[in-house]
């Protein structure tokens, strides 16, 4: 009996010893801090990781994930991320680099960009936050084919103090294309950065960085291009976040431009059949003394492009013209027979009567 007790005691001591040893080893082996980075990618990731936060929120529908990534932008605890359904009041939590969990309050989102700021209490943070800020204009330039690193918590693989995933790729190019998320259109209509670094669920809101550590983009969701119907791995240029960040983090007042919406008038009637898919923008009639007549448009001309927007259907032409206001001058490209012609058109207001 005594012998058995001794055995049990020694066994427990032994297992306890092994466990502590293991956890200590675990810390040593997997702690990022104790290893010296050697390559350029390692150095960049090592420098940037403390600025990336994991975000956990309310789970939505089955296909909408309840996790995302954010980037710390101020030492007062501001974190920028994509505006998503998982960000709900009293349910959003932020896990910092060291594994500490913080409740976050929500700040008003920017609808156009689709980004939102969170705020955590900086008093509860161990040590100091390491914020990032969109670099100056010259610093935020990138070239096609440039190597980049994307950081984010893809598929919620990183728990507590585990570090977020780093993926490596190149900048594929800059694009300005109509975007769609699942079935709905995306409001953002500026340039996006295409990359082939993986952009998986959870990586959304993470950052895209050049190898010398410059922050060039905020990862977007896996969007579809309406032009090609293919999925894009894209990032929002970090530079475009500046007005929103300056307003809510630095307290700068943004000039709010209230526009009175006046529809533009070209005097062109398009050839369109009801109940059909919108056909290419063929001109059917041009009114006298209208901008279209001054430009020299004739019947059966096909409008192909307005400024940089390519027009593939009557519907697209209308939606593009809605972006302008009367008085603007646009460059129109049209096709007459086999000739392609261009000219400037000054948009007007619709005459009364």
């Amino acid at each position: 009996m005594r012998f058995a007790m001794i055995v049990v005691a020694s066994a427990t001591v032994f297992t306890a010893h092994v466990l502590t040893a293991q956890t200590a080893d675990f810390g040593k082996a997997y702690s990022f801090d104790e290893r010296k980075p050697k390559t350029q990618i390692e150095r960049t990731v090592h420098k940037l990781l403390p600025s990336i936060a994991k975000i956990h929120g309310a789970s939505g529908l089955a296909t909408i994930k309840a996790y995302a990534t954010g980037i710390i932008v101020s030492d007062q605890g501001h974190i920028v991320t994509l505006d998503q359904i998982l960000l709900q009041k009293d349910r959003t939590r932020v896990v910092l680099f060291d594994g500490t969990v913080h409740d976050a309050t929500l700040i008003r989102a920017d609808d156009k960009l689709g980004v939102r700021l969170l705020k955590i209490d900086p008093a509860g943070v161990n040590g100091k936050l390491q914020p990032l800020w969109p670099p100056a204009e010259e610093q935020s330039k990138y070239r096609n084919g440039q190597f980049v690193v994307s950081l984010g918590n893809c598929f919620r693989l990183a728990e507590f103090s585990e570090k977020v995933s780093a993926t490596f790729g190149v900048v594929v190019g800059k694009a300005n294309t109509a975007l769609r998320y699942r079935m709905a259109d995306v409001k953002y209509d500026g340039d996006i950065i295409l990359t082939d670094a993986c952009n998986n669920p959870g990586q959304y809101g993470g950052g895209l960085f050049t190898l010398d550590g410059r922050w060039i983009g905020l990862n977007m969701r896996l969007l579809d291009s309406k032009e090609t119907n293919t999925m894009l791995s894209a990032a929002l240029p970090a530079r475009d976040l500046l007005p929103y960040l300056e307003e809510h983090v630095l307290g700068k007042k943004r000039d709010v431009v209230t526009k009175k919406v006046v529809p533009v008038w070209t005097g062109i009637t398009l050839f369109e059949q009801a109940g059909r898919k919108s056909p290419p923008a063929y001109v059917e009639r041009v009114k006298r003394n209208s901008p279209g007549r001054k430009l020299g448009l004739k019947i059966d001309d096909m409008i192909v492009r307005i400024d940089d927007f390519s027009i593939r259907s009557c519907k697209e032409l209308r939606s593009v013209l809605n972006k302008y206001k009367p008085g603007d001058t646009v460059t129109v490209m049209w096709k007459r027979g086999t000739r392609v012609m261009t000219g400037d058109m000054k948009l007007a207001e619709k005459p009364k009567k």
């Binding site: 050697k38 390559t39 350029q40 070239r143 096609n144 084919g145 440039q146 190597f147 190149v170 594929v172 190019g173 800059k174 694009a175 300005n176 294309t177 998320y181 079935m183 709905a184 259109d185 995306v186 409001k187 295409l194 082939d196 190898l211 291009s225 309406k226 032009e227 090609t228 119907n229 293919t230 999925m231 894009l232 898919k277 056909p279 290419p280 096909m302 192909v304 492009r305 390519s310 593939r312 259907s313 939606s319 490209m333 096709k335 086999t338 000739r339 392609v340």
Partner: protein, 429 residues
Amino acid sequence: MNLRPAIVLTSLLLPLTAQQGNLDEFLKLEPVLQAALKRAGPFVVTVETFGGTRHSMGKDGPTDGPAPPKPRPKPKKVEPTPVPTPDELPKPLKPGEKPKEKPGEKPSEGKQDPKNDKPEKKDKKKKLGLVATGFQQTQGKTSGIVLTSDGWIMISRFALNLNPTTILINVPGHGTYHAERVGEDTSRGIALVKIDAVGLPVPKFVHPNDVRVGQWAFALGRTFAEAEPTVHLGIVSAKNRLFGRALQIDAYTSPANYGGAVVDIHGRVLGISVPLSPSGRNAGVEWYDSGIGFATTIGDIQGLVKRMKEGQILQRAWLGVQLSTSHLGPGAKITGTPKDGAAKEAGLRKGDIILEVDGVHVLNGPHFQMLVSSRLGGETCTLIVKKKRKDEPIEVGPITLKNAPWSEQRKGKEDLPASFSLPEKEDGR
């Protein structure tokens, strides 16, 4: 001989030198890539298509046309209809009596059982393609490359799938031109268009024999941004794919860069990226972004380009023989010759064994298939055949190969693929 100290020394030194030299080696690739982009950028053009019909490309989505024809049903023996005797003639109905239907006859159109109607509705849904699977092609931009300085542009046949009414080509730094469709090669997935321009930048082409598996291959495209071409990195995965027509690359290819150039580190063109698949009739688009991409080689098809410039539509060859799967060689044994095939017209019959094609010994059935599949319709070939029940092989030919029946241009409205449009909202998510 005491080698031990030397071994210890080298083993100590080797990892040091290897590590210090190679850690950031990959950074050297970036300037090389930039230089290649600079050289290759000018001749990659944007192709814009307008009009046409939108359709989905499912599992059997065609680029070469509709699926191969089904085997013809055997003609049923038509029995002479017996002349009805006066007793069998329908009698005038009494009031309140329903007409009796014969079991074989169809019910009259006006009075259909609602139960019988249901399965027909389902069939209709399938035909309309309301439940679309696979990739949906949209009207939009793709890419292309300049072939000659006097305005010949090579594009991917993918851009012409929707039968566009208008094609415009934007050459960077030169302007936008109206293009006319001239020739196509459906087996390679490429098409030639002509624009009215001169002095265009011309690329250098690499002959596929000079390509090595594992060398860098950058897939360029000019679909999204017209200022600078988009670039995807990859390597050449295999040569002589699809019967010697294409290179396989692992760079991402997608509708966003189909028609664009696949270049090496010197900016020379290895090929033009197109959606293809080995079966020859599937679109291959479903493989986009999968790491399997094809680049049709151009360095070796000068003769075909000449034919395409004349306005020919080149298609895969079809000899018209069915081969035995149990005959392991040498030679390929014929088990049948379909009616319209070139083989039947040349006098080949069931039981004949094909021993040689144009001087190449046929090892077995698949080998023979490979030899014929690499040809195009309209070409000729000479066979050496051992006829059934004869000892001496004889020469048959030259046989003019026909176009594959499934690569013919589709005719009639019923063959048009299923189409449906996605709900498009003006705003809101």
